[in-house]
Symmetry: C2
Subunit: 143 residues, 2 copies
DNA sequence: TTACAACTTCAAGTCGACTTGAGGTCAAGG
DNA sequence: CCTTGACCTCAAGTCGACTTGAAGTTGTAA
């Protein structure tokens, strides 16, 4: 397949696909003339990348996860560890979400005066402090 | 309070606080010499900013909520929408986590070839040709 | 009074994930 | 054969939220 077809079928821009390839997240099978050719299986990989991106993972993280193809038990440990880290990240996001949801529902005029909100906010802040700062573009939101 | 104390107590860097002030998200009460002075209530505002940031709001959005009077004029719709977006993000993270966890346990060398993994990832079922036609409920297709 | 830590301003740099633009190549259809 | 549109490379630009660095000022403790 040409890059254009991959783009059409995956929803990712051709420029993004070139970028992924440059970063080693996907591979083309060769060229036809100048043009990159891709196997259909690349569609799965791009889908995985897209999924990871919308979950807020960086391309580096995704790359690391993709690259552990059936290797040793070391990698199993690594994978399990990453899953645990995701659990933690999910927990933190849930706290923030609860805070937001309460703020949206609370009748209190000034949210900063609501004890419940303040408590939730405190939690969110504390967990935000110890989290690595995520820079760059925020995750692509799925509407 | 000096900016340094606000930084210490809020967890935000002094440079970030100056940045927030420049953007109109917080206000100093004046100067002592050159130095900005802050009221303690700025701590609440910074906490709110931090909460909003970790929920994925932009400083502009947060600024709009903070800008009306001293009270936080929170946009409930926006907050609810953001909470929903967080739900979605959490859902996607959970999918990735489950995939990782499965990959850690699965013997398959190529995870993309494993049906269970594919199902977890919500990937389209591959090559229907080589699998027996199932009677009963057709698989739910993920678009 | 002097040292110095803590501030100040302003410009420029950084990070991640791409996008955009200029200028060039090429395969296929008419 | 010629056109055309889809591709190519490479450099630079973009966006948000800060950070960093240089160069200067000042409150305060010794």
């Amino acid at each position: 397949m040409d890059i254009g077809e991959v783009a059409r079928r995956s929803g990712a821009a051709a420029s993004a696909l070139r970028f992924y390839e440059e970063k080693g997240l996907i591979r083309s099978t060769g060229r036809r003339g100048l043009r990159r050719q891709y196997d259909p299986e690349v569609l799965d990989q791009v889908a995985l990348i897209t999924l990871g991106r919308s979950a807020g993972l960086t391309l580096d993280e995704i790359g690391r996860m993709l690259s552990v193809g059936g290797r040793a038990a070391v990698d199993r440990q690594l994978l399990a560890k990453r899953a645990d880290a995701l659990d933690e990240q999910i927990r933190q996001l849930a706290v923030v979400r609860d805070g937001l949801r309460h703020a949206a529902a609370c009748k209190e005029r000034d949210h900063l005066a609501c004890p419940k909100f303040r408590r939730l906010m405190g939690l969110a802040v504390r967990s935000a402090v110890q989290r690595p700062k995520s820079r760059g573009k925020p995750p692509r939101l799925v509407p």
